[in-house]
């Protein structure tokens, strides 16, 4: 079974019990050779946490967006933002934590499914608006999208059936333009 790091709590405790807040940081970088390594390497070299990191192209071909979920006290987060900004390929760094933002994650779960459990699993999928994307005599593969909490919740619900394999994308986020509820 795949073990995933449970990063569900909005906050985490560091070893010395210090209060560490979770931040979602959106970084626009030049889509250049090595740019991703620079960001990941900076986190490793400075010993900063990464809860999740996702990267992909944006509306502009030459620019990639990285969404980094990290934890730290105010001083660490300030340094992280500054260090990200300092990288030559970085165009813009926004700590979305201080903004109203939308955040989504996608998960694929291959869950054990017997004749008897299959319908129950499909019910759960329906509640979470997840899709069945593969089926075999012994398993079902579901695709679910949502906030991190939602993704965590569906995983929790599916666990008792036996999760064979699981892949999460890590979070992607954008600043919300519409300030009301959708």
């Amino acid at each position: 079974m795949t073990h995933t790091k449970d990063a569900d709590q909005g906050t985490g405790e560091s070893n010395n019990g210090e209060h560490l807040r979770r931040h979602t940081i959106s970084v626009l970088v030049e889509n250049k050779f090595g740019a991703f390594n620079r960001v990941a390497g900076m986190f490793a070299a400075k010993g900063y946490n990464i809860d999740s990191l996702s990267v992909g192209p944006t509306e502009e071909e030459a620019i990639s967006r990285m969404t980094i979920v990290t934890r730290g006290d105010d001083q660490i987060i300030e340094q992280i933002t500054k260090q990200l900004n300092k990288l030559i390929d970085t165009i813009k760094v926004v700590d979305l934590t201080f903004e109203n933002f939308v955040e989504r994650e996608l998960v694929l779960v291959k869950v054990q499914a017997t004749q008897s459990s299959r319908s129950e699993i499909m019910q759960i999928a329906e509640i979470f608006r997840a899709k069945v994307i593969d089926i075999s005599p012994k398993s079902l593969t579901l695709e679910a999208t949502g906030s991190q909490q939602k993704v965590d919740a569906i995983i929790k619900m599916l666990k008792p059936f036996g999760i064979k394999e699981l892949a999460r994308t890590g979070r992607v986020a954008l600043k919300r333009e519409f300030q009301g509820e959708v």
């Binding site: 050779f33 090595g34 620079r38 070299a45 300030e78 340094q79 300092k86 165009i91």
Partner: protein, 602 residues
């Protein structure tokens, strides 16, 4: 650049040429005077292009580490970027220490490495090393050039990034096949990078806040670092200190930014700084940090550093601010431009009482050492300071001699002090002095090393002799890795572990390289040999000073501790009754007239 170069560029305008030729023409267009390099298989094409394009001086070092340190020394002495050219694999990896050193000390150098052909990258090809990956965390930026059409722009960017904002090393990896591709040479006039725009003008609101704090200060201290020298802002600093009548302490890298013959000078602060500079920082009410980065060798225990003071921090690198010590008023910008604005917004302060207190501290706790027949390193340095009047470029290595030089030399000019501070790289001095000597002929260049560090890059003696560089090469031979020995003595119950050095005959070694060499053992010979060395005209001169073996650098604030734990020079131990004359107590206080030391001597 000069007119003839522009025309040379234009003439070549629309001719196809190899990447190698484009590369050399880019360096010429950039105004590069000297390249420190070492050839190999991956750069053989570039070296071929150097045969015809001889506008550029290439210096064949004897080890690639020497090339990077030479480039650093050149950059620190001149303010212009240092340039290195080495081959792939081992040539590239040999530059790593120098690159890391330049990164820590914010020195603008551009390192060009050969690389295996693009199609072989990743194949464990002969002499392949992923130097871009290896140096990613120790460069300001680095590049792999994948197409000859990107070459000129990449080189332009590399120089731009290395020299602007917070300076630093940039590496450009040049695959062999790219350098053989043909292209047009067109060197871009300027660089536009949407992702890199260093801030140089301080924010007016922050400057106002700083001025308000300063105008209310009773016990201000200026804490001045390497950024002042990099920004060429010594004049502005003097002006500000003068208006405020504010004492000035400098970091190791700030030495020379403020003249030590000025009464406001406190000398160096930190682990081996003067007693009074550290105490002044402890008691100040406003600390004005200018181009200094609150290094742990300066702050000791962070929470206790200038704990009572409001802190202003001027730095061009936002990430340097509030990294170690939380400051009250950050100002991001270039020191020179910010100081100019600040000068307009501050008023003269009445600091008479504060300065009087400091004067008393200076009298009570000057820098001290005991000197007798056997040579003390401190004495050598003090004499060197007196004889040159500070009119020299002094390049030190790492260890006790480095700290003694920082303490006892007479620092009056910016760019007169070059050392490895952040990385603390033994072996730095000799090649860095060589680089400085290529860049500066107006002042004598003096390399000071320990007997340990000298042997880490002594091969550059050959290069120095070959080019008849007038470098004065001083080795302070105490027979020990002195700084480590000192720590073992003070903090590890004098259990000496592998710190004794079995040395070669340094004078014979220097002579074998073809260098004039002297050795002195007596204090009485020191002055004469220094004068002789300074007067030496024909190429380099080497002097070995055989000094007291076990002596310590004081004052010392043990790592991570506070000024309360400062260890000053111990009181003299009573000598055995062998009738040997007591060593004389020598004292120096920075910011007082150097002549006081002479009076004490008699």
């Amino acid at each position: 650049m000069s007119a003839h170069k522009v025309t040379a560029t234009q003439k070549q305008g629309n001719r196809m040429m190899t990447g190698a030729e484009i590369f050399v023409r880019c360096l010429i267009a950039e105004g590069v005077e000297v390249v420190f390099g070492y050839p190999g298989g991956a750069t053989i094409g570039i070296y071929d292009a150097l045969v015809d394009l001889s506008d550029i001086k290439h210096v064949l070092v004897r080890h690639e580490q020497g090339a990077t340190h030479a480039a650093e020394g050149y950059a620190k002495a001149t303010g212009k970027p240092g340039v290195v050219l080495v081959t792939s694999g081992p040539g590239a990896t040999n530059t790593v220490t120098g690159i890391a050193d330049a990164f820590m000390d914010s020195i603008p150098i551009v390192v060009f490495t050969g690389q295996v052909p693009l199609k072989l990258i990743g194949n464990d090809a002969f002499q392949e090393a992923d130097i871009v990956g290896i140096t990613r965390p120790i460069t300001k930026h680095n590049y792999l050039v994948r197409d000859v059409r990107e070459l000129a722009r990449t080189i332009k960017e590399a120089f731009y990034i290395a020299t602007t904002g917070r300076p630093g090393p940039v590496l450009v990896d040049l695959p062999k096949d790219v350098m053989a591709q043909k292209g047009l040479f067109e060197y871009p006039e300027k660089v536009e990078l949407r992702s890199y725009k260093p801030v140089t003008e301080g924010h007016p609101r922050q400057i106002k806040k700083a001025a308000d704090l300063i105008n209310a200060a009773k016990r201000p201290v200026l804490y001045v670092g390497g950024g002042v020298i990099q920004s060429n802002a010594s004049d502005e600093l003097r002006k500000l200190a003068g208006i405020l009548q504010c004492p000035v302490t400098t970091t190791l890298h700030g030495l020379g930014a403020y003249p030590e013959n000025d009464p406001l000078a406190l000398g160096m602060l930190g682990m081996h700084g003067t007693w009074y500079s550290n105490v002044a920082v402890q008691y100040c009410d406003v600390l004005i940090a200018v181009g200094a980065r609150f290094d742990d060798r300066v702050t000791g225990k962070v929470e206790a550093f200038a704990a009572e003071a409001k802190k202003i921090h001027i730095d061009i690198d936002p990430s340097a601010i509030s990294k170690n010590v939380k400051v009250d008023v950050p100002i991001v910008g270039d020191v020179k431009s910010v100081l100019k604005k600040l000068i307009e917004s501050v008023q003269p302060l009445d600091t008479k009482d504060w300065l009087a207190t400091i004067e008393q501290w200076k009298r009570e706790h000057p820098l001290r050492y005991r000197s007798g027949e056997a040579i003390r390193a401190q004495y050598v340095i003090q004499k060197l300071g007196e004889i040159t009047g500070g009119n020299a470029i002094v390049v030190t290595d790492v260890g006790q001699h480095q700290m003694w030089t920082a303490q006892f030399f007479h620092w009056v000019h910016p760019r007169s002090h070059i050392t490895s501070g952040g990385l603390g790289t033994m072996g730095f001095s000799l090649p860095a002095a060589m680089g400085a000597s290529f860049g500066r002929q107006d002042l004598p260049v003096i390399s000071i090393s320990g007997d340990g560090g000298f042997q880490m890059n002594s091969q550059e003696m050959a290069t120095i002799v070959e080019h008849k560089l007038p470098v004065k090469i001083f080795v302070i031979n105490n027979g020990f890795l002195g700084m480590v020995r000192q720590w073992q003595e003070l903090f590890w119950r004098r259990r000496y572990s592998h710190v004794g050095l079995h040395n070669p005959d340094f004078v014979k070694l220097a002579e074998a390289y073809g260098c004039t060499a002297y050795r002195v053992r007596q204090s009485s010979e020191v002055e004469e040999v220094i004068r002789k060395a300074l007067a030496h005209k024909d190429g380099p001169v080497f002097v070995e000073f055989v000094v007291v073996q076990e002596d310590n650098v004081y004052p010392m604030i043990p790592a991570g501790q506070t000024v309360n734990e400062i260890i000053d020079v111990p009181e003299p131990v009573t000598k055995a009754s062998d009738g040997a004359p007591e060593d004389a107590l020598m004292t120096v206080a920075k910011g007082q007239h150097i002549s006081t030391t002479k009076e004490i001597q008699q």
